[in-house]
């Protein structure tokens, strides 16, 4: 293979990308070496099994991916602003909408939420860690290495260009030769391992590790949403695993699952993909609902209205999410009866979702609303998401979908639900729990500025797309006709407004790090749930003494009764897991194996897989059972954290 086949050549934008990657890498290496931070990096982060640190790494990576996906989005919007624009050519446009969609869903939205779950769920249930801390680290590294594998495709080998849905036969070896599509398949496969492990880990954590007295129906609602999400993950991800594996075997080993030559069925891909893909959209929306419920209850200073209805509606949504996948291809000729069945099941989801909307409104009703930045994101979510939901029901009507299918109407719809639902929730959750993670709040003024830029930009960007979509503009086209120009220009302006909002958000992180007041108590917002019962920074063992839960809003109850999570009398040595470099190394080797498969260098893939098996063997023989934190140390840590 020639070097210029290995590296992507000929595109100025990509050369710029290469230069910036080289610069950032060099700068990072320089800084780490200059300040002698390699040991610190290894001990504190690469080998950590602490759920809070893992969560923070997830969130930071997700923010980086949001940046990458956002740049993709702005490039597309620039290209679409004017007819005959020559910013991107058609091939490059195809690659960018593919990487944008994939990065946003798999490497941004899901990891962001999993990051928040990691930081918060064990704290909310009064646990000292997740059930399988080392497995948790493994999950993170599998996500990160998967994301890296996918992302390097744009400088090495070439990006995939068959859309994030990768429909066959377009994505097959005949029509998409070369490594691009393989990057998609193996990047997703690698990170999928970790997602499944996360699902199992959180199910066991929540079922088994709740503080004494916390019955299932006394769990905080974000924890509930995590449990339901973990359930969807466990039952949906194996479908993706199989689908990706079948396509990989088709492409690399010449099997005939999706090819027409061997009597394979291209439509089977669409079915398998969406049997995972539809539940996937609930994997990114249910935790978002959980976050909004927490934020709204806290800042309305009221108990969440209709707690049980909230839980049951989530469970119902999770069940229904497996029964609607065909609505993604009503137009592909399944016939009227099949379409009708899936049309009805799709619209049914609106019922439990509506229940939730009313419960949020009822929580807010006659309350003393505090308009903090976190709450602004939550409040803005409600009407925005309703617009997305209503247009979703429109798309769910099979007959009408023949008009909307693959048009900008759809693009507007899914951005309304994904951004107003998931992205707003990520921001709300990050702002809300930020003081717990970093020991200071984000600046509210700058936060509001960023919020308004983002919110207004969002509506300006996506609302016009409903109309240009009804006017017939298809999705995934790289140029427009003059009639569509005005609305497209508006849309592009809005997109840049969101970009500015994001930049201000990131600036706020820097600004607050420098200037915000440090947290003293750990209870930053006068919170209701147990995560606020820990001091800030949270000691690595979370709770010195585990609280006894008697009521909903356990911490509020404790505050009323004057209880704390640090009772010197009751201290006992705490058992904690030791750090380990195995997850990082194992997934690093897995990365090499996957890279080999991407280029169809079997020797490399096999060597890597053997390495992984050896690592599993080493793990099996590892009987390190962790260590005990002695009472004296707990006392010292707590006193300094609580400033006693």
């Amino acid at each position: 293979m020639q070097l210029d086949e290995f590296f992507v050549t000929g595109e100025p934008l990509i050369y710029a990308g290469m230069v910036s990657i080289a610069l950032v890498t060099a700068a990072t290496i320089f800084i780490l070496t200059y300040f002698k931070k390699w040991g610190w990096l290894w001990r504190e982060w690469l080998t950590t099994v602490d759920h809070k640190k893992i969560g923070i790494m997830y969130i930071l990576s997700a923010l980086a991916m949001l940046f990458r996906g956002g740049v993709d989005a702005l490039m597309m919007r620039t290209q679409l602003a004017f007819p005959d624009m020559n910013f991107l050519n058609s091939q490059h446009y195809n690659e960018i909408f593919t990487t944008h969609g994939t990065v946003m869903i798999i490497f941004m939205a899901m990891p962001f939420l999993i990051g928040l779950m990691n930081v918060i769920v064990p704290l909310q249930i009064g646990a000292r860690d997740v059930a399988f801390p080392a497995l948790n680290a493994l999950s993170f590294w599998s996500f990160l290495f998967g994301a890296m594998l996918f992302n390097i495709s744009f400088v090495i080998g070439g990006s995939p260009d068959a859309g994030w849905t990768s429909y066959t036969p377009l994505a097959g070896a005949a029509m998409s030769p070369g490594p691009g599509q393989n990057f998609y398949l193996l990047g997703l496969q690698l990170s999928g391992i970790g997602t499944l492990a996360t699902g199992i880990n959180f199910m066991v954590t929540i079922i088994k590790m709740r503080a004494p007295g916390m019955k299932m129906f006394k769990m905080p609602i974000f924890t509930w949403s995590t449990l339901v999400t973990a359930f969807i993950i466990v039952f949906a991800f194996p479908i993706l695993t199989v689908a990706l594996a079948l396509m990989t075997i088709d492409r690399i080993f010449g099997s005939q699952f999706f090819t027409l030559t061997g009597e394979g069925l291209p439509m089977m891909w669409a079915n398998l993909f969406w049997m995972w893909g539809h539940p996937e959209v609930y994997i990114v929306i249910l935790p978002a609902f959980g976050i909004f419920s927490e934020v709204i209850a806290t800042f309305a200073r009221k108990q969440l209205f209709g707690y049980k209805a909230m839980v049951w509606s989530m469970i119902l949504i999770a069940g229904l999410s497996f029964l609607v996948w065909v609505h993604h291809f009503f137009t592909m000729g399944a016939g009227a009866f099949v379409n009708s069945v899936f049309s009805v099941s799709t619209m049914l989801i609106a019922v439990p979702t509506g229940v939730k909307i009313f419960n949020w409104l009822a929580t807010l009703y006659k309350s003393k609303i505090q308009f903090t930045v976190a709450n602004l994101w939550a409040l803005a979510f409600i009407p925005s998401f309703v617009i997305g939901g209503v247009t979703g029901v429109m798309l769910g009507m099979a007959a009408a979908d023949y008009q909307f299918h693959n048009s900008y109407f759809l693009v507007a719809h899914f951005h309304y639900v994904l951004i107003a639902g998931t992205v707003f929730a990520c921001f709300a959750g990050l702002v809300y729990w930020y003081p717990k993670m970093f020991g200071h709040k984000l600046n509210e003024k700058i936060g509001k500025l960023s919020f308004w830029f983002f919110l207004i930009g969002f509506h300006v960007c996506f609302f016009p797309q409903y109309f240009v979509g009804l006017d017939g503009m298809p999705r995934r086209v790289f140029s427009i006709i003059p009639e569509w120009m005005p609305l497209n220009v508006i849309s592009t302006v809005g997109a840049f407004g969101m970009g500015i909002g994001f930049v201000i958000f990131v600036y706020n992180i820097y600004y607050s790090f420098r200037y915000s007041e440090r947290e003293k108590t750990g209870d930053s917002w006068d919170g209701r749930t147990l995560e606020w019962a820990t001091p800030t920074p949270v000691p690595f063992y979370n709770f010195a003494t585990v609280p006894h839960v008697e009521d909903h809003d356990a911490f509020l109850d404790m505050k009323k009764k004057g209880q704390t999570t640090f009772d010197e009398e009751k201290l006992e040595p705490i058992h904690m897991p030791s750090s380990t470099g195995q997850p990082f190394i194992m997934m690093g080797i897995m990365f090499i194996a996957s890279f080999g498969l991407v280029f169809e260098w079997l020797w490399m893939a096999i060597a890597g897989l053997v390495g992984v098996l050896i690592m599993m063997g080493i793990r099996s023989f590892d009987y390190d059972d962790g260590f005990h934190v002695e009472v004296d140390e707990i006392k010292r840590t707590e006193r300094s954290a609580r400033r006693l």
Partner: protein
């Protein structure tokens, strides 16, 4: 993360970590059910799409498949005995029966490999048609699981020799027994819905 131990009940359930590992593994088996169901569904959808390759009825051999089934079912039984021995606290009984289980598993694998090579010779390969792709991937995934199970159990035998029965080793053995029975159940489905149906249709 508590290291409290219970005083009674099966050894593998006596620590909280043990209980969590076992529950986690049950959930993992749930995911495995979805994985195999997807493969079965794929196989069902692609059934009969043999292109120019031989039909399954022409190739499937009742004899071989019956022997394979017998080997695997028996191994599930011996695996059960080994857990019984573990409950009685007999490391020797446990290892003996576990080794017998593995030998039966190896026998199964041997026949499967023979079978696959035989089909190749008759012109049915992974590449020859959608039907055969789905057959090889479904049966092959099961075979791969058996192979991994054997490797895993060998590691456990070494640990048993070194450490004897502890809450940790017994939990590991118990978990692999769940895995082994699960593979047996999957095989029963392969036996009926792939081989039996393939031979009569």
């Amino acid at each position: 993360m508590s290291s409290h131990e219970l005083k009674s009940g099966p050894l593998e359930y006596r620590t909280e970590q043990g209980q969590m590992n076992i529950l986690g593994f049950w959930i993992f088996l749930g995911a495995e059910i979805v994985l195999f169901s997807t493969l079965f569904a794929t196989y069902a959808v692609l059934f009969g799409r043999t292109a120019d390759a031989p039909l399954p009825g022409e190739l499937f051999e009742p004899g071989t498949v019956l022997i394979m089934t017998f080997l695997l079912l028996t191994s599930s039984f011996t695996c059960g005995i080994s857990i019984h021995e573990m409950r009685r606290g007999s490391v020797k009984g446990l290892t003996t029966w576990l080794i017998i289980t593995l030998l039966l598993g190896l026998g199964f694998l041997g026949f499967e490999i023979y079978e696959f090579i035989h089909y190749e010779h008759e012109g049915a390969t992974l590449q020859s048609s959608a039907f055969w792709s789905s057959f090889f991937v479904l049966a092959g995934t099961h075979g791969l699981h058996v192979t991994l199970g054997i490797g895993w159990a060998i590691l456990l035998l070494l640990q048993l020799a070194k450490r004897g029965l502890t809450p940790v080793t017994s939990r590991k053995v118990f978990i692999i027994s769940l895995y082994w029975h699960f593979l047996d159940v999957v095989w029963i489905f392969i036996f009926t819905s792939v081989y039996l149906i393939g031979m009569v249709v």
